[in-house]
Structure formats: C-alpha cells, structure tokens
Subunit: 356 residues, 4 copies
Amino acid sequence: MSFNTFGRLFRFSTWGESHGPAIGAIVDGCPPGLAIDEALIQPFLDKRRPGTSKFTTQRREPDAVRILSGVFEGKTTGTPISLMIENTDQRSKDYSDVAKAYRPGHADYAYDAKYGFRDYRGGGRSSARETASRVAAGAVARVVIPEVTITAWVSAIGGDAIDPEKFDPREIDNNPFFCPDPETAKRWEKIVDDARRDGSSVGAVVECEATGVPAGWGAPLYAKLDSELAAAMMSINAVKGVEIGDGFAAASLRGEQNADPMRPGNGEGPRFLANHAGGIAGGIATGQPVRLRVAFKPTSSILIPVDTVTREGEASEIITKGRHDPCVGIRGVPVVEAMMALVLADQKLLHRAQCG
Amino acid sequence: MSFNTFGRLFRFSTWGESHGPAIGAIVDGCPPGLAIDEALIQPFLDKRRPGTSKFTTQRREPDAVRILSGVFEGKTTGTPISLMIENTDQRSKDYSDVAKAYRPGHADYAYDAKYGFRDYRGGGRSSARETASRVAAGAVARVVIPEVTITAWVSAIGGDAIDPEKFDPREIDNNPFFCPDPETAKRWEKIVDDARRDGSSVGAVVECEATGVPAGWGAPLYAKLDSELAAAMMSINAVKGVEIGDGFAAASLRGEQNADPMRPGNGEGPRFLANHAGGIAGGIATGQPVRLRVAFKPTSSILIPVDTVTREGEASEIITKGRHDPCVGIRGVPVVEAMMALVLADQKLLHRAQCG
Amino acid sequence: MSFNTFGRLFRFSTWGESHGPAIGAIVDGCPPGLAIDEALIQPFLDKRRPGTSKFTTQRREPDAVRILSGVFEGKTTGTPISLMIENTDQRSKDYSDVAKAYRPGHADYAYDAKYGFRDYRGGGRSSARETASRVAAGAVARVVIPEVTITAWVSAIGGDAIDPEKFDPREIDNNPFFCPDPETAKRWEKIVDDARRDGSSVGAVVECEATGVPAGWGAPLYAKLDSELAAAMMSINAVKGVEIGDGFAAASLRGEQNADPMRPGNGEGPRFLANHAGGIAGGIATGQPVRLRVAFKPTSSILIPVDTVTREGEASEIITKGRHDPCVGIRGVPVVEAMMALVLADQKLLHRAQCG
Amino acid sequence: MSFNTFGRLFRFSTWGESHGPAIGAIVDGCPPGLAIDEALIQPFLDKRRPGTSKFTTQRREPDAVRILSGVFEGKTTGTPISLMIENTDQRSKDYSDVAKAYRPGHADYAYDAKYGFRDYRGGGRSSARETASRVAAGAVARVVIPEVTITAWVSAIGGDAIDPEKFDPREIDNNPFFCPDPETAKRWEKIVDDARRDGSSVGAVVECEATGVPAGWGAPLYAKLDSELAAAMMSINAVKGVEIGDGFAAASLRGEQNADPMRPGNGEGPRFLANHAGGIAGGIATGQPVRLRVAFKPTSSILIPVDTVTREGEASEIITKGRHDPCVGIRGVPVVEAMMALVLADQKLLHRAQCG
C-alpha cells in the first residue's frame, strides 16, 4: 500500500516521477507565522542539484522550487504548503531495454510483481529524483526548529573511511564529496572516478549530527526517536542501514564502556562525558548531539552487463545507459539532513503537544 | 508524544509497566476466522521468559497470557484481541537510589527531562518487560501469515561473531544463546558469564530471516519495507542499529558486486543468484528471503559504579542492583521474530488492500 | 477494517465484548503529571451504569474500573493508561434464536456478511456495553481540559421534546431521564414505560454543551471541529444523526438570520449576539459554547416479533428476549459527554502542538 | 492542528487558497492499472463549476484539471496522483474591509484566534473553492468502485422541501438546482432569486444515495461507516448537520417502526422491507442503498450589513461584496457525491484488507 506521507503532526507528502511534468511536496501541520519564501528553500535544492561536478549525474536541471500555497505575505499561514519543482531535462531516450528486462538492484522486478506494470522511464517513482521534494520540505522544517543545527557529511566511500581525528566541519562544503577531510577527499576523487570510468558505481556512508536538540524530545518505544529517525533514513532510496550513536559498534562493548557518564552541568541538564547513545536514551533526546550513520548502497544503474530476465522470464543481460551518479551517497548528504530536520520538527510539535 | 501503537492495518498497542499489576497488548485489524487460543501464544512467551538460564535475568514469572476479547469459539472475530500478562514477581525492593540519581545508559534522565518525573520502579515503562506484550502480539501475527517462516538467532556477542560457514539452524534452540553454532555457543558461555560475574554486561547482534514472503509485499519510499522493518526493530529496547541485507557492508561494494543477478526460475518469479538486498528492492519484497541484522547495546543495568548526577544536579555515582540480563540481546531473539511477524502481517493486509 | 482507536494525539482504544471476561480501554498520549485515580473515574461510570431505574436495562453490574498502568503515585506518567472493567452479570441464557436468525435493526446480518460469523452472545462487540470503556476514557480526558465544562441532557424522547424556555440545568440529575425540565420528565415516564410494557422501545435526542472552549481550538476542513465531533458522536452505538449548532434548522434560514453578530467584549475576544454556529466557525472554536445534538434510534432489541431470515436464508420472525434499555438514548447522555471530552482533550493538544 | 488529508488507505490531501496561483489534491493509495485521464475527471468539475447560472457565483473559471503524476500510459501506477487546477479569475479587488473586520458566520475571527493572522483574500483556505480539489479526487475514487452508483440532489432550499412522492432522478440534471422535481425547482428559482436580489442567501439540504455498496463494507464503532461518512460530509464548508438513513426522524420512532424487516432474497443476501437505517447496521453496509442527508447553512457572505468588531476590537458593521453563491448548498451536490465516493473507495480497500 502506497504511503507517501511522513510524519505525525509536521507531515509532508511527496508526489511525482522522474519523467513526469513535475514533482512536489505538500507540507502540512506547519506552525503559522514563520517567514518562508522560495529564496530560503532554493539553496538546499542547489546543494542536492545534479550536474554540479563530474562525480554526480550529468542531468542538468535548475530544480527551481515554487510555493503554491500556505504562505501569505511571506509568512506561513498554518495551512498546507504546496511546493512544486518542474522537470525540465528529461531526455526522450529509448527506454525499450528497461521496459523489457529487469535491472538487478533496481525496483523494476519488484514493481512489476506488485503493481502488474510500471513506469519504466528513468525509474519512474523509484527514481532518486524524488528526494528533491524531501529537500524542499526539509528546508521548511528547518525554520520550525531554529534551536537546532544540522550537519551531514560523507564519512566513507567504497569502504575508504575518513580518519575521525582529521574531521573538520569547515571542509565539508569545500569539495564535491561533502568530505570533512581534504586528504580523504583527494583519495575519493580517484575511487569515484575509477568507478565512473569503469561504468561502475560505489557505495557510501553518510553521517549526520543535530546539535541543540532539547532534552525531552522523542518518546518511549514505538515512537522512539531512534525509531523515527531509522524509518526516515531508511525511506531514502538506496539506504540499507542505519545506526544511532555507536550503532553496531555498541554490540561489541561492555556495559561500563557504553555508559555515557554524567557530571553536573553549567546550565540546564548534566554534562555527559561520552555520547555512545547518539544523544538518545530510552527513545528520548538527552540534550547531547543526536548522531546517526546511514549506509547507501552503490548506484544500481551501471554500464557493466548483469545477468537478468525479461518480463517474459527469459534469460538476458542488461546494462543501464543514462546519466547516473557513480556514487548516489554523495547527493544523499542534503537528503539525510532534510530527513533529520523533518523528523525533529515533528518531534518538537509532538513534545509541545503532550508536555506543554 | 506517546505513541504505543505500531502498524497501519494490522496494529497492536501495548501498555503496562515493570512493576504494575499487569502488562498487555491489544491487537486490532486481525482478519476474522483464524484459529487462536492461549496455547498457541504461550510457547513464544516461554521462549522469551526470564529465569530459564543463568545467562538471563533471574526474575521468575510464568508470563501466562490471557485472551480477554476478540476470539469466539476458538476463532478471531475481526474485533480487537486483548492480551494480558500479569506481573507476579515484582520484588518490593528499595528503589531509593534509582529514584534519586540517574542511571547512565538508562532512560532515567530523559524521562525526567520529558515528563518532569518518572516511575522509577524497575524502569517502569522503559523496562524490557514490555517486550513480552510484543511477543504475545507477534504470535497472533504469525497466524495471519502462514506462508512465511521466521527465524532469528544471535550472530555475535561482545564482538565475537559466528562463522557463517558453520551456521546450522537446527542448533539455534539447543543452547541458551539462540546460537546456530555450538562451538561459538561454548565461547559465549564464557563471555557472558565473565560479564555477569564482573557485574557488567555485553552487547549482541541478532539476525532474522523470513522466508516465503511473496514478491510484491511492501511499497516504495515512505512505506518501504526496509523502513517499516527498521522502525519496528529500532523500537525495541536497547536496539541502536538495523541493517537490511548487506547493510553497511553494501556501502563498501561496487555496483556489480552488489547487484543480485536474475536467472529464469522454475516457478513464479526469477531465480536470484545473490541476496545482497535482503529480499527487498525499491522497498518491495522480491520473493527472496527477507534478511536483517539488529544491534543490541549491552544492558545498561550494571553493578560497576558509573559517574552520574542526582535529580538535584549533584555529582554522584550509581550501581544498579537487581536481577538483570547480562546480555539483553539474547532474549531479544523472540522479540525480533515477533516484530518481523507483526510488520509482515501488516504488509500482507496492505498489499491485499491496494492490489487485490 | 477494524479501527478501535479514536483521536490523533490524545487517543483511546477500546476492546471487549458484552459476554467476555472484561472490557477496557487504553488511553495514550495523556499529558504527564495529572492527578488521576479510580475514584475520579468511577462516578462517570456510575452515571452510565445499568439497572439504576426501571427505565434502563435490568442488567446489574458494579462496573468497577481498575487502572492497570500509566499512573504512578497518583499522577499520570505520560505513558499508556490501561483501564479495565470486569463483566460480572452475564446471564448464561439461551442464545440459539439469535445465533440462527438475524435481528432486524441489529448488526447481526452485517457482521455475518463482513466476517463470515459473529459472537452472538449479547451482541458481542456491537453491544452498547462497549460505551462503558468510552466513559472511563472520557473521565481521564476531562482532567486534561479543566478549563472546559461539559453538560449533556436528553431533549426529546419518542418525539416529545422539551420546551427550551423551561430548560433548567440543575434538574438534569434529578430524574432518571437526564431531563432538564421536571414536567417533561413526567411525560417521558409514561412514554418510556408504555414502550417497555409493550415490549417496544423509543428513540431520543441528546444535546450537549461545552463551555470554556478557548477560541482557536479546532482546524479547517478535514479536521474541522464539527467533523471531529460528528465522527465521535456517530461512532456511538445507535446514533444516526448529528447537528452542530442549529444544524438542519440552519438550512431553512437566510444568511442574516444565521449570522452570529459580534460586539466588543469585556475580556478576551468579542461578545457574540447569537450562537447559530454552535461555537464553531470554519472548523475552529470561536470561544462561544460548543453545542451539538445527537439522534439515538430506538433500541433494536424488542419483544415484538419482526420478520427476518435465518442464516440459511429462510423466512422467520424473531423477538429479542433479554434485559434491554427501552430507550438507549437515556444512558447515551454520559457517553455523549465522554466523547465530547475526548475530542476536546485531543483538540487542546493539537492546538498547542501547532500554535504553541 | 492542520490535517488536510482524508481517508485511511485510499487517501487524498488537498492544498491551495482561493487567491493563490492554483489549488490541488494528491490521491495516494489508489489501486494500480485503472484507466484514468483528465477527460474522465473534468465532467465532475464542470458540474461544480461556478458561473453556470445566475443562482451560483459569477466567478468564471474553466477549472481545468491537470494530472501531474501517478498515471502512465493512461493507467494508474499505484503511486501518488497529483491533480492541479489553476486559479484564473482572481479579481484584484479591495479586501481592506475584510482584512480589518471579521465577517460574522465566516472563519475570519476563528482563524485570527488560532493562527494570529489570516489570508483574507477571498476567504483564503476557508474558501469553498477548496471543494474543487475534492471533486477532482472524487472522480478518481469513482473509478475504484465501479460497482457503486452515487447520486446526490438538493431536497430543500430555504426550508422548502421536495415532495418525496414526486422524486424523479432523471430531472436532477435538468435544472440549475439539482432538483429531482421540476415543480419544486420552479419555486426555488424565486426563493434563491429573492435572496440574491436582497443581497442575502439561503440554506439547503442535500441528499445522497449510493447503490451497489456490497454488504460487509464498513466496520464497527470508531470506524462505523456512519461515522466515516459523517466526518466526510461535515468536513465540507458550510455543512452543520448529517443524518444517516432516517437520522433525527428515527429518534421519534418506536423500535418496531424503525426495524428494517428481512425476507428471503433472490440472490445474495436478504430482501429488506424498509431502509430506516440508511443501508448501515452496526457500522457495516447491509447491501441496501446507503442514504444520507446533509445540512448546508446559508452562505455567510451577504450584502446585508451585520454587526461585527474590528481586529482591534472596536464595534463596526460589515457587508461582504464579491461574487457569492446565494445558496452554497446547490454546488454542494457534486461535492457531497465526491465525498461519498472517496469514503466508499477507502472502505472497499479496507474491507478487502481485513476480510480478503
């Protein structure tokens, strides 16, 4: 069953396919009176925009967002905010290969199994183009949570991870990989370029940190902040793993190693001596930075032939021509940030609702 | 905001605290006419029951489930199924330490920050005792999906992982660790026992596989089967990471390594030559086994003193007396299975709803 | 599809059948720190309790409520509140007639058409006994909205309506009909008693007013306060009509007659010169009393034989023996009040969430 | 809290204001493979379109709908269907009166009380223009339920009701009032024209019948079909009352009068000898026609001055210039039909989900 809405109070719904006339999102539940205009949203879309370096897809679109409702005289009215981005660079290419046979790693076979047919043009609804709508909605979410600062970066590409010691947040926007370490960025150039030239692709890990999240946001169990974030991140195309705080590494620790000891703080709340928990205990924010890691698989669209079957069930092989990201995780950075913002905006309203 | 309900159509809601008179669950949306009674649910609770070996908590409770509604003459009526488990072994111990200071790694501080106070007896709502309700609900879910077989096991404890080559599913129930390899189980005995004797605890990784999931269950994007499963698993106490299929390992692969090639099958659907995707592509089941991994942090309740602060913000240290699991991941096995069953039962109804 | 949960943030779920061991409700999303105990809930259940006069069913049950979770040291913790009421007076009567043939006006045929079979003992899930759970949940809701005062009464029985001129709220609890006019109450005695003696039943209209609802609660369109209230009231057994403010009478008015003119007020907000709108404009409360009317059909269980068919489709006729309310609308009064409280508690949290 | 989505599985969300660039709807959860194009939706919008007679608003807009997503090669794909209608006839009139003072009967004061300010141009989000989005979504819903036929009509204007004996469904589309009796239509001409010439307005009652609804759709209690329909109808602008079947008239009946006796049927299900219940028993469809009545208040925008206050709280009076419907209930007919279709499409999927 199709559910294209995310969130409980601060909600957004996205629509649109890669090769339709446009894509978009509706943001519902936004508090009234917040200053929002297109100029505020556009920079986030620009960050995600394709065609900005040879390390991303060569599709070139301005991804210009229009606000169609919910804003009056520059302020949110509290009613649904409709955001639309026109598709302008859809090549009228030949999709007959993709229409006939299933691309392994893609949603092709699964869509056919579910729906009986599929829009095969550029992946249709399963195209990563959908994430532009999330980024637009996420820009609105950020306005709802001015107390929070969100930063994401790529921490590994093709298994080559950054050295945490060399982490410098000021470097993130200085290279085409959102890499916080210029030396690693250099190595990644070669990794990604090699993959691109081989007609292949590579996976990546994206990390995200939100500082300023007040202690108390979140909830126990089924609405655990960990759970909401995991659902949000895992809903992004190509994501196959999520860790909160130490994640899988915590499974190797002993209790006393994993505890985040507390000392009296200067202001509100205690001072924590560690943050293995990623800023969340019992599903509720502790006031520490909320930290998570997200695994992006390598782009499934590659020029290397892979064994497959046709819709009729006959053996075949397929290569996926087109303008693809050799590493879809790179452009995942603004998307992960957007999903973090969208979850936290929702959590802010939810906490205020129950606890005043 | 408190949300103690999980699922979209096949839904369950849990209630109850560690030290209240009882805990329970309501299962709503269950198809009518299914044969269910207490005897069918009890074995799953017995598998999770505390006190069965020295490697789990020494709390001893029968965890006998009662069906209070929704079943008539042995069959589900389609109305809410109320399941109740009485708490019988609540020691009237002294909780004044826990009431006064926050246990690091526990939800104590976060609860106080959110709600202004907390039920400190045995963790209250944040106690892993809540998972008994999930296991009971999960037993009902299994009846909804007879086509699916679900198996979970522990694949690592304290960083010591099983050798996948030695995986033998018949061994899982032959040792107190749900370990599919008897040799590894031997090693774990020592690891867990050492931790227990040190007053410490260890983390664990649980893996789960569901076979028989028909191609087509699931949905794109915000209701991606990956996303629903991640939310479900991450909602379990102590869980901090979830991987679908290869998960984070996929982030180190190249596209052609990560593809799951297809060959003509014998019956319905193609035959896949690999399952890096964990049986899910584009959020939709492919017909392959659905596979995931879950990281459990070490139990936070330990006898080793940890730095903390009191409710008044003064420096203190705390040890957590009581009868705790030295490795909470072990008893997580039936809980992970239950959550898998609950998600898949929901997905079956959702798919039927949209696609007939 | 079974949905036994009502509300968006302040939510409750009910379970249980007329002839099972118990019925109950879970209240989720309640703000923390509110003083609640059984003694606070019981009076509302007592008001609804059967067997208090010859004008209601002769089933006699204490309807004693137990709080099983969510309250610690007399205060709500913010986690789910489980409320349970045991069924104690289930007569082991012969239900073979009802099992074999459908009672017209009852849910019998519809349940069989939907589910393939049904729990025929005392109506099973469709019994008005379910409303006790609502009343218990409603008592909790009232604590969430101390600023609001809710009063309901019967305004017509069997077509005999009260004279609005003689409305005296102090009289409502002085007669077995919740009638605000003692003279009308006298007439109703005869109407209800005649129906009872004839083995028949009569319908009723219940009115409800909530004062103190702050201007601003509610929302436009799909979450119109009118819409939420209509859904709530129409979900009560035997209800077939809902009016907000003037309701159908407004359809006969001209625009200038239906306007509620405003004059400067003394304190917050304007003073309204009329309340045709029932305190709601554009779906949002105006600060005036919220007023609505609810139509209860006559009890379907009657001793007068009615034409029907058997499960096998053969012509038959049926009478419904048992201990039935001759006018189910009377005991609907505390239920309507409870649903009003439940909707308004939800609205309070929703408004706070979006507008701070 | 803003909730602009309706439905549980077959869901739609609307966005847009009277004086923004466009309005629209997203339909999510639609089954795949259904034939849909703009030409199929347009006739329903044309039926609702303003400016078609002197009895409706003189605003003239083509209300041309565009499908932006979710349809591929003429068939629904199972992904979100985005529908957009551009606003083309927004007069740049002077709204300073409305900006300064509150129009009684309108949402003006309530919006300000809730949100702190409002989009005052043409009513903004509270404009009945929003209903065009519902009608477009409703056209999609009809395709989901080909087994059902939905017909609505006006049954009373300004208190002048049709004679049920003279009901002729073929007449409904032969007059500008959707009146099933030409003689009554004549009388209404004068009533509406008088109101219009006086600068006033009149209320109306709309009735709707859905035939072909299979026995079994719907659910008990909180998802009672009566409740879903009541919520849907009450969510329409200007609606203040809903009756299912006999509605308030049932409150005047005795049990034996209100029963719908059954006789053996020819095909599936019994033959009912009456339909007081409006085709719904216990919240579940019985297979009889589903019938309901909806009360529309008179249009609040009138040229007759009404007492009011300014935003600053000073006494004032206001008249509402503009191009208004003298009887908003008339154009409510296609909207009521759309909401009926939207609820029933949702119910079809819900029933299929639970009961297969």
